[in-house]
């Protein structure tokens, strides 16, 4: 199971969406999420859906990958849907015993489910088209104003980069440690939840000690190479806005305008 997990959902492709500046993508995603809570009616959803389908098409990521992100919460969606259909009061459309379906219920259920789906799909697109490292760079850059307030953005970003780099290593370690303890009879699969939970200590301790050992060694290595912190540090691959980012920004602005107009006029 552990072997088959790839870090994140990044789907490598050559598309304009993939090449966009991560800062732009982050901001647009936030705007998109906000827009989902502004729209109230059918036409609004049409605009959002159209927009997101356009982006999916432009990203050249196979739709089934995008839909994969929905799998874990399919149950929730179905559940919420059912609950809203049956539990909302209003004009009854259909009855069977004590189950009744109302028009309002149908409406609410449908839109809540739709909103959830659009939410997930939209944010999946962000992680599908942006490498984790680039995301980190983007976040660090966007948070530069916070630096003035004393937030150590450079250190936090460095931490994130290093943690990201070591996660595959740590995952392998976890796997190895699990197997080694299993070979000594540790059992993580059977028993009450409390038993299984206690069985995790033989994994956590070595993992922890190992990770901290790596941190010590890495600190020494960095110091030996005269790492002095973030002051005046430059990047090898600095983020730069390109023309396509400007174009994408215009398109997004257009989208926002459409949403707002729809809300006001309809």
């Amino acid at each position: 199971m552990i072997r088959d997990i790839t870090l994140g959902q990044y789907y490598p492709e050559y598309s304009i969406i993939h090449k966009l500046d991560p800062r732009l993508k982050l901001v647009v995603t936030l705007v998109y999420i906000a827009s989902l809570f502004i729209i109230e009616d059918f036409f609004g959803y049409i605009i959002v859906a159209a927009a997101i389908f356009a982006v999916i098409a432009a990203s050249r990521v196979p739709p089934r990958f995008v839909m994969r992100g929905l799998k874990p919460i399919l149950i929730i969606i179905i559940f919420t849907f059912a609950l809203n259909i049956f539990m909302t009061s209003g004009d009854v459309l259909w009855e069977y015993g004590w189950l009744h379906v109302t028009r309002q219920g149908l409406y609410t259920a449908f839109f809540m489910a739709l909103r959830l789906i659009l939410l997930i799909v939209g944010s999946s697109l962000l992680t599908l088209t942006t490498k984790p490292m680039k995301l980190t760079d983007g976040i660090e850059s966007l948070l530069t104003p916070a630096k003035k307030l004393g937030v150590p953005t450079h250190e936090l970003a460095m931490m994130m980069t290093i943690a990201l780099r070591f996660i595959p290593t740590l995952l392998e370690e976890t796997d190895k440690i699990m197997k080694a303890q299993q070979a000594r009879g540790a059992d993580f699969e059977t028993g009450s939840i409390f038993r299984r939970v206690k069985a995790l200590v033989p994994i956590l301790i070595p993992l922890f000690v190992g990770a901290f050992r790596i941190a010590q060694d890495l600190a020494m290595a960095m110091e030996a190479r005269c790492y002095r912190g973030g002051e005046g540090r430059t990047k090898l691959n600095a983020l730069k806005f390109k023309r396509r980012d400007l174009a994408a920004a215009f398109v997004s602005a257009g989208y926002v305008a459409a949403i707002i107009m729809e809300r006001i006029l309809l």
Binding site: G185, P202, I205
Partner: protein, 322 residues
């Protein structure tokens, strides 16, 4: 206790475009008390293979019998397998976690559900087998130990389970020469004391040659050779072809042209067929001495094949002069 493996296959990423057979149709038998060596280039599937023997991995095809239990059958309790087959992974010291050495070694036996006094006996026995002094070490934190001590403590943790099959994956990796030798002799004394099958996975051909009675060679998931060390290491070309080296003495003997030729072996008189491949330094020394006795002081001067010796004569194919 015997092991029987039939047509074992393990596929990674099954069904996807990049599926690979880590273990491809491997079959073999191991008799009671054998000391088996498993060698293979990185990625040849040896680690994957041995992880099937104690039930950590399940095969996609094939069956495995440990003793008379088919561990690949449905409903087999892991507990039963782990009681019989003990395994020590690479760099086992990274699995140490308990507060004291005693408690860490006792972890295995405790998981087997043994009584406290039985556990105590086993911990003491295991510690003495790995040469860790009970009175000094038992109550110390495992993290305070030296690298070699940690490794021995980790292996003790497996030995304390008294497995009938002991599998060791690179037990000497990363150790200094003394610790390395200590571990090897430890393995031998454990084997003497506990009987049972020992399987050693290693990149170190000298260790394999010195300790094992049969060698399995893995290459890209297939078991390509299985035989006595002398047999397996005699085919230098093949071994290099599958990305493996030879014991140092064997390499040296090949370079000097002493490999298995008439009169080159220990005690062989001129004209008799040699007993075969040289596997260790003692054998090499004997072979050199015999060759010099048989053919005079110039027989070997250390010139590699194909190059000119101090007399200007080029060493021929055999490397050994007149």
């Amino acid at each position: 206790m015997t092991i029987r493996v039939e047509h074992l296959t393990h596929t990674y990423n099954k069904g996807l475009a990049y599926e690979t057979k880590a273990v491809d149709d491997v079959s073999f038998e191991v008799a009671d008390g054998e000391f088996i060596g498993v060698v293979g280039h990185t990625g040849s599937g040896k680690s994957t293979l041995i992880q099937h023997l104690n039930g950590i991995l399940k095969p996609d095809a094939g069956r495995i019998w440990i003793g008379d239990i088919d561990i690949t059958a449905k409903g087999v309790k892991m507990h039963e397998i782990r009681k019989r087959v003990g395994m020590s992974f690479q760099y086992p010291e990274y699995q140490l976690f308990e507060e004291t050495v005693y408690k860490d070694i006792a972890f295995g036996p405790r998981n087997l559900g043994l009584a406290d006094d039985e556990i105590d006996e086993r911990v003491r026995e295991a510690m003495s087998l790995v040469n860790l002094k009970f009175d000094e070490m038992a109550e110390r934190s495992p993290f305070e130990l030296s690298g070699g001590q940690k490794r021995r403590a980790a292996i003790a943790g497996v030995i304390a389970m008294r497995p009938e099959v002991l599998i060791l994956d690179e037990p000497t990796a990363g150790l200094d020469p003394k610790a390395h030798a200590d571990i090897l002799s430890m393995i031998n004394s454990v084997r003497e004391r506990m009987g049972g099958i020992v399987i050693l996975v290693s990149h170190n051909m000298d260790d394999i040659a010195a300790t094992t009675s049969r060698v399995f060679v893995m290459d890209t998931g297939r078991l390509v050779r299985a035989g006595a060390p002398a047999e397996v290491f005699s085919d230098a070309g093949y071994m290099r072809g599958v990305g493996l080296g030879l014991p140092q003495a064997t390499e040296m003997a090949a370079m000097l042209g002493l490999d298995g030729e008439p009169g080159a072996g220990v005690g062989a008189a001129a004209g008799e067929t040699a007993p075969g491949t040289i596997l260790d330094m003692d054998g090499l020394v004997d072979a050199i001495v015999s060759a010099r006795i048989a053919r005079g002081p110039d027989a070997i001067d250390g010139t590699p094949r194909g190059e000119e010796d101090r007399n200007g004569a080029t060493r021929d194919e055999k490397g050994v002069g007149e």
